[in-house]
Amino acid sequence: MPFPVYSRNAPLKEHVGPVHVVAYNTTGQYVLSGGQDRKIILWNPNSSKLVKSYIAHGYEVLDIAVSYDNSKFVSCGGDRTIYLWDVTSGSTTRRFSGHMSRVNTVDFNADASVIASGSYDAKVRLWDTKSSSQRPIQLLEEAKDSISTLQIVGSQIITGSVDGYVRVYDLRMGQLFEDLIGCPVTSIKDSTDGACVLVSTLDSTIRLMDKSNGTMLQSFKGHLNKEYRIRSCFGDNDVYVISGSEDGKVYAWDMLSRRVVHELKGHGEKVISCVAYHPKKPQMVSCGTDGSIQVWDCS
């Protein structure tokens, strides 16, 4: 499928200040974005119109995750709290607090019964949405430095930390696989088949690591990532590897050949912190520190 290269004329500028995260819902109909202005905005990427805004955070919003049924989503940020939202009502169903510093990343498990949150305090807390307990189910303390990113895939929890390790907690096996990347990890994305993991690190390199034995399958270079958390993702059924960059361009590589296939300018030389690919059709959304959210289409 062709790669979405055309940006819309009018990028969404509802946010004031840098936008830290964009996420599609499971159908791809809506996009949720959160930024420095403590707002979370639900909007329609096709019409570029704002649908709803969720205002509750006391500090910037750093990550958003949508549940499998699109009825709720979870957000985290600088106020050390994880907010569980109901999409339609726009109110916070639950709040989880316990982290000692800003929460960098959150994710749901398959049936949205568990929320995993990783924080600057080097701990991952696993929260139970079904009970009304204030304490996490479990605490993962193996990391020595800030958890920058995590993802729950099936019965595995994959975390990436600034201490240079990618840790895969396998619940089924009862094992922990720690792979030393060598450089602070900023982004983790599991592949569709679950065999490998896309790891972005602060040495301007994106690596594709094999989960089973920890070997590196592929590396992607060309973009700039030295200081900020830049997120990367797969595109179009793992054909492409897409990442933002600190030089204001969206980079896309072909996964097999590791060549840079596209360099898309869209955010005016500002850091592009997050990219998200539509789950079904060739559409892409990127956000940057200029406060704008760009939708990329094929035509």
Binding site: L126, D145, D163, Y169, L171, R172, G174, Q175, N213
Partner: protein
């Protein structure tokens, strides 16, 4: 008679067949739950305007919009304007000017008197009323008592009491008493017009009012003592004088009489006795047995046998008057004890023992007595013929050491002039002669004892083990870096102790006497202290061994010590955070740098998810015993756990063998053991132990079946 309401008036009993009857009227429901909300309880007048502006503190002056008064305002309703309507002039009565106080005064003078038909007679003298009088109620009305008596068979004209036999017309007839006499003695039908209490008997002396005006001043005044001022009333004030001229001021404070004693009159009357206590007869008998017979005599006097009201004490008790001799000892429960028996040979007096060997024999005592009688003072009394003992003699007798004095006295050292002065001052010319000697603190004496002291000093030097001293010497570090003299002394001390120097060298540093003023020498005490310090220091400053020596260097000779830090290969000292900076020594870090990702960079360890977490994920809790360890660095944990598993497994095997279970089972256990420890891949989802096929039949029989003659391990 109480009239019961007929059933018909009550509610019909057809209340669902129950036998309940409602009596009374139920409370109206409207009255219940009168708790109205606050807004309903606000006070408003008929126009709906709010009342009680501000805080209502009681009183109703704020009724009319915070003005005083009434509906009509300040003007009273009885006011009639004199301009238009002439109000009639009211004659002012004295009552108009009187207030509550005045009214109270008047009320005090009021007396309650029976109304005319009820007053017995106009005069106030005692009327010996008969029964008729008492029973008569209001004229024209028969009192209830009258009726009751009649019902009980009494006829008016008769008295009240039991029937008495009287002779009437020659016959003995039982007749009720006459009207003017009653069979009840002690019951008076005369009117009581005094303030005596119940049971008052004027014959009893104690009941008579006491002569002192108020036993406690301020007690109730005797009735009649307060003059009922006939002159009081309206128009008479306190200021006015009385006609009788005898000013009786009830408020006058009489001077305090200090000679009053409570109940003193009674005491005098009864012969000095005040309080009466009862003592049981037995006790009194006991007391009478004691030597104080004087007291008992008083007790037996008949005068005191009775209580003050004339009555005898209760049987079994004897009256004892407190304050008397008798009472003090009886009442205080004292038992008298005989004094201790003194042995006959005891001689009171002080004995001075000068020689413990002297036995106290009767002869000795006799001598002692004689001497005591002869000499006036007891001071030097032990020896028969006395001389004044001097101090030295006494010390000799006592056997105290005399070395330090050597029999010298102060006067040996005094000059004759000083002696004269002393003699003049004290007036005592008998002082021993002054010899003007020189005291022992002179240098001469010191010189003589010098050698003696040296040896003594050397003895006091703390000794060090030779070996210890030599090692201390060879230690690279010498203390007292800032005091070179002290250091040299230390070294000399060490050397003397190790044998390389004669000990007498140490003495070179101690002052030989007060006159020794050479610098660098110490006073003896300081010298001693320093030596002790050196002794301790020698124990501390030993040479460092091996690695420790490498760690520490002295500032003076840094060049001689090693600078590198030696480390073992196995010790990894740095924190994970240092990884960011990338210490090159670690294997996996270097591998990662070279992008040689794989077994070198991977670490596998066991991780236990909590059961709730597994439940949420829909995953079975993983079996922790089997660990597939791959990779270069195998953690200790799994292997240790493995070993534990094997151990317990071994135990299981043994137990199985002991229990005489069939071999098949043991085989199965062994097989499982092999499986677990063999390192082959374990499918965590399948638990073999649980999914085993049923045990063979003979095992069952062996365990649960009847034992037909088989050996059973008891």
């Amino acid at each position: 008679m109480s009239r019961k309401r007929p059933l018909s008036t009550a509610q019909p009993a057809s209340t669902n067949g129950a036998d309940s009857i409602f009596l009374g009227t139920p409370i109206a429901d409207a009255d219940q739950n009168t708790f109205a909300p606050v807004w309903k309880q606000e006070a408003r007048d008929e126009r709906g305007r709010k009342r009680f502006h501000g805080a209502f503190t009681g009183g109703f002056s704020a009724g009319y919009f915070n003005t005083v008064g009434s509906k009509d305002g300040w003007t009273p309703s009885t006011f009639k304007s004199s301009r238009t309507e002439r109000a009639e002039k009211k004659a002012l009565r004295p009552e108009d000017f009187m207030d509550e106080e005045d009214f109270a005064e008047n009320r005090a003078d009021e007396r309650l008197v029976a109304a005319a038909p009820f007053s017995a007679s106009t005069s106030s003298k005692v009327v010996e009323a008969g029964v008729q009088d008492i029973l008569r109620g209001a004229p024209g009305v028969e009192s209830v008592g009258y009726e009751l008596l009649k019902k009980m068979g009494w006829k008016p004209g008769f008295g009240i009491g039991a029937l008495r036999s009287q002779v009437v017309a020659g016959r003995k007839v039982m007749m009720p008493p006459r009207a003017d006499e009653t069979a009840m003695s002690g019951v008076r039908l005369t009117r009581k017009n005094n303030t005596h209490g119940l049971g008052y008997d004027s014959n009893v002396p104690s009941m008579r009012p006491s002569d002192e005006t108020g036993g406690a001043r301020g007690a109730w005044p005797a009735p009649g003592s307060i003059s009922t001022r006939k002159n009081s009333g309206i128009g008479v004030g306190v200021v006015n004088e009385y006609d009788d001229g005898d000013e009786e001021d009830p408020y006058e404070i009489k001077p305090i009489a200090y000679d009053r004693v409570l109940g003193s009159k009674k005491q005098k009357a009864l012969g000095g006795a005040s309080k009466h206590t009862f003592v049981s007869k037995n006790k009194a008998k006991l007391f009478s047995a004691s030597s104080n017979s004087a007291a008992t005599s008083t007790m037996t006097t008949s005068k005191l046998k009775r209580c003050h009201d004339g009555r005898l004490p209760i049987s079994g008790f004897v009256l004892v008057i407190t304050g008397s001799l008798a009472s003090s000892s009886i009442l205080t429960n004292e038992k008298e004890y005989a004094p201790p028996s003194i042995p006959e040979t005891y001689i009171p007096g002080i004995l001075i023992m000068h020689d413990p060997k002297t036995l106290i024999t009767p002869e000795f005592i006799a001598d002692f007595e004689k001497s005591r009688k002869s000499t006036s003072s007891l001071r030097s009394s032990s020896v028969p013929h006395q001389e004044r003992l001097s101090a030295s003699e006494r010390s000799r007798i006592l056997g105290s050491a005399q070395d330090h004095l050597q029999g010298k006295s102060v006067f040996d050292y005094m000059t004759p002039v000083q002696r004269e002065r002393l003699a003049k001052v004290t007036g005592n010319q008998q002082l021993p002669p002054a010899k003007s000697e020189v005291g022992p603190s002179s240098a001469q004496s010191e010189r003589d004892s010098g050698e003696r002291n040296e040896a003594a000093l050397l003895e006091l030097v703390p000794t060090l083990d030779k070996h210890q001293a030599s090692t201390a010497l060879s230690a690279g570090f010498m203390p007292y870096a800032d005091d070179t003299e002290k250091r040299t002394r230390y070294i000399i001390y060490l050397e003397s102790q190790s044998g390389t120097r004669p000990a007498s060298d140490l003495l070179a540093f101690s002052k030989s006497g007060d006159s020794d003023t050479t610098p660098g020498k110490l006073k003896v005490e300081d010298w001693m202290r320093e030596l002790k310090e050196f002794h301790k220091a020698a124990g501390l400053f030993r040479p460092l061994k091996g690695m420790l020596a490498n760690r520490f260097t002295s500032s003076a000779n840094a060049s001689t010590t090693k600078t590198s830090v030696v480390e073992d290969d196995n010790t990894v000292l740095f924190h994970g955070a240092d990884l960011k900076k990338g210490l090159p020594d670690r294997e996996d870090v270097s591998a990662a740098k070279m992008e040689m990702y794989g077994p070198l960079t991977r670490r596998v360890s066991t991780w236990a998810p909590s059961s709730l977490l597994c439940k949420r994920f829909g995953v079975r809790v993983p079996n922790m015993s089997a660990v597939d360890v791959s990779g270069a660095s195998a953690d200790l944990k799994p292997s240790a756990r493995e070993r534990l598993e094997l151990l317990s497994h071994h135990k299981l095997l043994n137990i199985a063998k002991d229990a005489d279970v069939s071999e098949e089972v043991t085989k199965r256990l062994e097989v499982q053991n092999v499986n677990a420890g063999g390192g082959s891949k374990i499918n965590a989802e399948v638990n073999e132990a649980l999914e085993q096929t049923k045990a063979p039949r003979d095992l069952f029989l062996a365990v649960f079946g009847d034992s037909d003659g088989e050996d059973e391990n008891v």
